[in-house]
Amino acid sequence: MPIQILMPALSPTMTEGKLAKWLKNEGDPVQSGDVLAEIETDKATMEVEAVDEGVLGKILVAEGTEGVAVNAPIALLLEEGEASSTLEVATPAQPPAVAPPGPASTAAPRPLVSAPAAAAQVPAAKSSGERIFASPLAKRMASQAGLDLTQISGSGPHGRIVKADIEAAITAGVGQAAAAAAQPVAAPNAPAALAEPGAAFIEVPNSTVRKVIAQRLSASKREIPHYYLTIDCNLDALLELREKLNGRAPSGDKSYKLSVNDFVVRAVALALRAYPGANSSWTDEAIRLYQTVDVCVAVAAPNGLITPVVRGADNKGLVAISNEVRALAKRAREGKLMPEEYQGGGFTISNLGMFGIREFAAIINPPQSCLLSVGAAEKRPIVKDGALAVATMMSCTLSADHRSVDGAKGAEFLDVFKKLIEDPLTMLL
């Protein structure tokens, strides 16, 4: 029997994913450890490695298919000497109903063969499970005439449905019976076809990452009673210290270049150790206080926001934090983070200072209770010893979940944080 290759769970929370790309073709020999496919999970693109050796006999889930359930068979591997004829038997009789959310109309399980379903396109699968070959023009004409391509036989090369077949079907009324079934399909799934006339637009399909961002942040803003506290920190001492430390950076691979953000991460980590209430999650039964200080740093990756974690940040020095954040951010932008690098964390820092944002109030990264929005370091007039003076100031806003962290407690946390930032030598203790 051929070996079934199953959709792997790449993280504990993963229930489904997108089969982004096949790196092996049917008929390719496979060694243990070869990368078979790339899976796009809710946060990143992961590689699926082969466990067994053999020949990739049959691909069951076409690349580009979204919403493939964990443990659904995605391919069949033939062991050495196994004939490809065994594939037919091995193909699951009841393919799991995890077909792409295309315009499927029937409740019957459909095989995972369809390409990403474009809006207003007719289902690309016959009821028997065969892929339908039709010319682009034939597809469009069928769609416009409300015809079901599965009811039409093709006269083109290898049975391809061509324009003449659609014209004949329209004349003969073939496929119209199925039109009733096909119509509701077109409606909900084809917003483009229903667009108001006039306004021109293009539609960018939502990536898995984008959908997750939308779902999680909507839930966060909807369910978490946010409140916001802003505090101004004087950075003069910190900048001076930073300059001194950077001036002592050795050359070579021990080199470092500390950023203000590295100090912020360190200060948050120490403040969380001193004030664990902000390192928490609300659940209906209890407030969960984390026993390790794992700080997430929001990174704008090309395909969306991601929050890699600096674990045990309170036990890491500035250089260690600096190097780690830099490496995580780089991999995040390349979409190469491993799940353990972005899952979990008890507190998130979001820094838009580099864009000159003075202050902002970000949405809490659930299930965490608090998030610190860090603004730009800028020279501002301040009152010092009863006189006007100029100092480099940075505004930070804490977004907090009122269910787990009351306002006064949030303020206490910020106070600890501010003291560390303004007296940075205490950070080095």
């Binding site: 010319s135 682009p136 004409m141 006269s155 061509v162 324009k163």
Partner: protein, 466 residues
């Protein structure tokens, strides 16, 4: 004794006939051809190929005349018409030998002589009035081609009034020419002789040159020809020809005026008539209309077992159409599945004048007349980097889409190298792509083909570079 019984006999070995015979042999049929003159027919010996050799000379000559535009100085540019013709003949001879080889390789028996239907399933071959062979076949394909049409009073004489045949092998370079008819053949000769310096007058009975092409393309081509110094008269007929010792005076009539033009030579290019004589059609049920054989969609004539393909049947009269008909005819005889009748809207047409003209499918006017609501895209050569770099900034790519379905109904081009571009749209039409697939196709930069992309984009208001 040579074999005389075959599955298929093809009479004529032009691009229709020899292709049909080879396809039959490929499908395991015992196949033979009968050829009275040249293997490869007119196309290869007296048509498409030798004229392309001549036009290549004209193109090189033109380019050299403009060498200074490209920073090259050439002095004393000249040509020898005899050597120009010699080259053209050498090219034809080489390909003629190629066809002989292809037929031999595919084990197609070749009979030298005139083939004639000789009763059901029989073909008689005669050479110089003597019977050479009596052949039998279940299927007989007439692929006898066509020849230049003649008009009363304008009959070609081979000396002063030429057909394409004489125009292809001039002994001396005429100083002036009248070309009667502005279809592809007429315009190619007009272009060739004009490039080599002859004074060229073109008389066309219809209201525009290249009348099968899209209106706009015709107009642009005419403008280019006139800029080169051609004198073009549309809606004009030739009333009479007065032949002197070494010149001809033609009386032209058009726009309510009559006038005389005196030229060294006249080229008659007013269409073709099918080669029906001596085919033995008498007493058969083969139907003839306007000098061409009537066939059904599978190239069957009214006589069972007798088929006809190519120029001897209806238009378009193009070599590649003949070849394709030959394939369809033979595959249908062989009972192959998936054979489709010829769709003439998928047959590209090319004219190798300067500028070149190429098209496939419906003109904008024809599309509207057929009831299509259309979207039309246009892109000019002046907007294309490669065209500018080549020094060929004149021309246009026009596309016609069905507004409702996005079907590519037609594509029409005028300008440098468009004959090599048109097949992109030909494939698109055969694959039934819509505008979406064409827009999604990536065209290489910098190429003339980018204009094909832009023209499609323009039809939907999205052209980027103009």
């Amino acid at each position: 004794m040579a074999e005389t019984s075959f599955d298929v006999i093809v009479i004529g070995t032009g691009p229709g006939g020899y292709v049909a015979a080879i396809r039959a042999a490929q499908l395991g049929m015992k196949s033979a051809v009968v050829e009275r003159k040249h293997l490869g027919g007119i196309c290869l010996n007296w048509g498409c190929i030798p004229t392309k050799a001549l036009l290549r000379t004209a193109e090189i000559y033109e380019t050299m005349k403009h060498a200074s535009d490209f920073g090259i100085s050439i002095k004393g540019i000249d040509f020898d018409i005899k050597k120009v013709v010699e080259r053209s003949r050498r090219v034809a001879a080489q390909l003629n030998g190629g066809v002989a080889h292809l037929l031999r390789k595919n084990k197609v028996t070749v009979f030298d002589g005139n083939g004639r239907l000789n009763g059901p399933g029989k073909v008689a071959v005669e050479k110089d009035g003597k019977a050479v062979a009596d052949l039998a076949a279940k299927h007989i394909v007439l692929a006898t081609g066509a020849r230049a049409r003649s008009l009363p009073g304008l009959e070609p004489d081979g000396k002063l009034v030429w057909t394409y045949m004489e125009a292809m092998i001039p002994e001396n370079m005429p100083k002036s020419l009248l070309v009667v008819g502005s279809g592809a053949i007429g315009i190619e000769f007009a272009s060739f002789y004009r490039s080599l310096g002859a004074e060229v007058t073109v008389a066309e009975i219809l209201d525009r040159v290249l009348p099968v092409e899209d209106d706009e393309i015709s107009a642009l081509a005419r403008k280019a020809f006139e800029k080169q110094g051609m004198s073009i008269h549309t809606s004009t007929t030739v009333k009479a020809l007065k032949r002197a010792a070494d010149s001809v005076t033609a009386t032209l009539e058009g726009g309510g005026k009559t006038w005389d033009v005196t030229v060294d030579r006249v080229i008659l290019a007013v269409g073709i008539v099918g080669n029906l004589e001596g085919c033995g059609l008498e007493g058969t049920r083969v139907k003839v209309e306007k000098s061409h054989i009537v066939i059904d969609e599978w190239c069957r004539t009214g006589e069972p077992g007798v088929y006809a393909i190519g120029d001897v049947v209806g238009p378009p009269w193009l070599a590649h159409k003949a070849s394709h008909e030959g394939i369809i005819c033979i595959e249908k005889i062989a009972g192959l599945a998936g054979v489709h009748p010829l769709d003439t809207t998928r047959i590209p047409g090319c004219t190798y004048s300067r500028p070149q003209v190429a098209s496939v499918g419906l003109t904008e006017k024809a599309a509207r007349e057929r009831g299509h609501e259309v979207k039309v895209g246009r892109f000019p050569f002046i907007g294309n980097g490669k065209a500018i770099a080549l020094g060929e900034p004149e021309g246009m790519v026009k596309t016609v889409f069905d507004a409702k379905t996005g079907e590519l109904l037609g594509a029409h081009m005028v300008g440098a190298e468009v004959t090599e571009l048109i097949q992109g749209y030909g494939v698109a039409k055969t694959l039934e792509t819509t505008e979406a697939e064409l827009m999604h196709s990536v065209f290489p930069h910098p190429t003339l083909s980018e204009m094909m992309h832009e023209s499609v984009l323009d039809a939907y208001g999205r052209a980027v570079h103009f």
